[in-house]
Symmetry: C2
Subunit: 357 residues, 2 copies
Amino acid sequence: MSQTLRNDRFLRALRREPVDCTPVWLMRQAGRYLPEYRASRAKAGSFLAMAKNPELACEVTLQPLARFDLDAAILFSDILTIPDAMGLGLYFVDGEGPKFERPLRDAASIAKLGVPDMEQDLRYVMDAVRVIRRELDGRVPLIGFSGSPWTLACYMVEGGGSRNFSTIKAMAHGDPKALHALLAVNTDAVIAYLAAQRAAGAQALQVFDTWGGVLSPAMYREFSLPYLERIARELDRGEGADRAPLILFGRGNGAYLGDLADSGAEGLGVDWLVELGEAARRTGGRVALQGNLDPCTLYGPPEAIRREVRLALDSYRDGNGGSREGHVFNLGHGMSPDMDPEHVRVLVDEVHSHSRR
Amino acid sequence: MSQTLRNDRFLRALRREPVDCTPVWLMRQAGRYLPEYRASRAKAGSFLAMAKNPELACEVTLQPLARFDLDAAILFSDILTIPDAMGLGLYFVDGEGPKFERPLRDAASIAKLGVPDMEQDLRYVMDAVRVIRRELDGRVPLIGFSGSPWTLACYMVEGGGSRNFSTIKAMAHGDPKALHALLAVNTDAVIAYLAAQRAAGAQALQVFDTWGGVLSPAMYREFSLPYLERIARELDRGEGADRAPLILFGRGNGAYLGDLADSGAEGLGVDWLVELGEAARRTGGRVALQGNLDPCTLYGPPEAIRREVRLALDSYRDGNGGSREGHVFNLGHGMSPDMDPEHVRVLVDEVHSHSRR
């Protein structure tokens, strides 16, 4: 932890300090679109085996940094490690995404849940953070992360991905007390999990509220927002230059950026459904913003990628009173396996060169 | 066409005239959640065979009206009839939704497309409208519909449903001229299709922009909004009491309600991601609003359904200067096969009884 960071653009942007150019990293930058990732995965045998092996998790975390001029690394892991450690039995079915052997369906099974022991039940995550920090050796900061309480609850109650989230919404309407009990224990666990990742060496922390955007405004304000606010309020992230900033990312959070900016989080991750300049106006310089190119832009030709990068950078600047400070460039959601690594290079290089001008 | 309408609440609400209570219909109200629908479908052999048979289409259109006190019927059909008539070869794979045998992938195949002959290539739709009007016999008005130019294009280019719309977005970035050519011919076809449905007897017309909400604001304003505006401007919908109002429904259209309200459409269909009162404030009485209960509310217990119905009704009234005028109650999206018909009854009856008070 005592290494000097050789590239601190990302952390400076999250503190809204001046930078030489806008920092950039990409959600799911370590992933199947990279042939070296597919090779690591083949070696591991499965996604979960790779995520649970600190050396392999480190290997794939560093892969995109070897190729592209990225300004941050993000821990390679899964967002469902917490419910797995709670005993729900995480497994993966090819082409169907994550599933749980023992989904939660009633208040009784929720009442039995407890916060996992971070250095025991989730030791493989903390070990991965430690190994990655050592191997990064101060090149760029390392981001730790967790699913949001609501997003974890979606998977825990639905038992996997869902088309319309009918089971958890039925619980929200039929037994809101049980759902709040689940969200409360999830929040305790997320706070402990992120704190442990920071203690292990994570220099920034991101919460993925992937499914907050499926809720009506009234339900978002009841079942997702208050728990994000509690994380922002209660998570100890250190002081001064050592402080690990917290980023709240949420798909469909455009309508709530004002509230989220008041939460105390240092950064907000924004999807592509809101213009970045408009997001900057709504948050008025109270937080840094991270985002927000439509990932599908990467399916376009290089010239279109460059143009869209410039538009996003300038939209932020225009909404931020003419300054590029406080912006971390990213996609509005994660990358997909069929994307072209060379297009990622085009994106990353254009972010740096255009914002340096 | 000369019958007197015995229940004209729906049309009065779309004209923002006073009504005795708020009218209600539900997207996909004729559907698999009804055992009698499943029986009709079994008789027909397939969804498409049912949609292409005017008598069966009429049979299933009327089924929900026999059960519930609904204020409108909607033509039973598919949103992809136009591209099918253009020669793309619509077919269905169980559990996977619609597919096209010959999806569009380049400017050359797009240049070959023409507007279908409505009374020839799509005669089965017009016949269904005529049969349904006759069988409805003035009970409630009949809604005709079409997919939006952008939404049709999504299926035509992707060749079916899509997780991230990568193919059409690649075209939007790589060959925007080809995509605009496709959207232009789609718009011509939608206008002709809706006009033909009106001529056959449809008393209101709805455009489903199911996938507009996957676009960034800049892309929505380039690839979806202008074509919706052209439909609203160019579609002849008659005059006076015979005028067939146009409703523009769009998932994720909350950010664009102000623009859509200026399009000239009589009504806007709103999903559940925006509060109805806020939608009313954004549109300021320029249009009627239709919506917007989260369909998953129907998975909740009856008491929760009643409460959510009342909240939506009152939210609209509060945002509409204290008046319930100009509101058509609906879901924010279509119903699902595993919903309980008895819960639909609870919803419909609560809309009427609460708004009558």
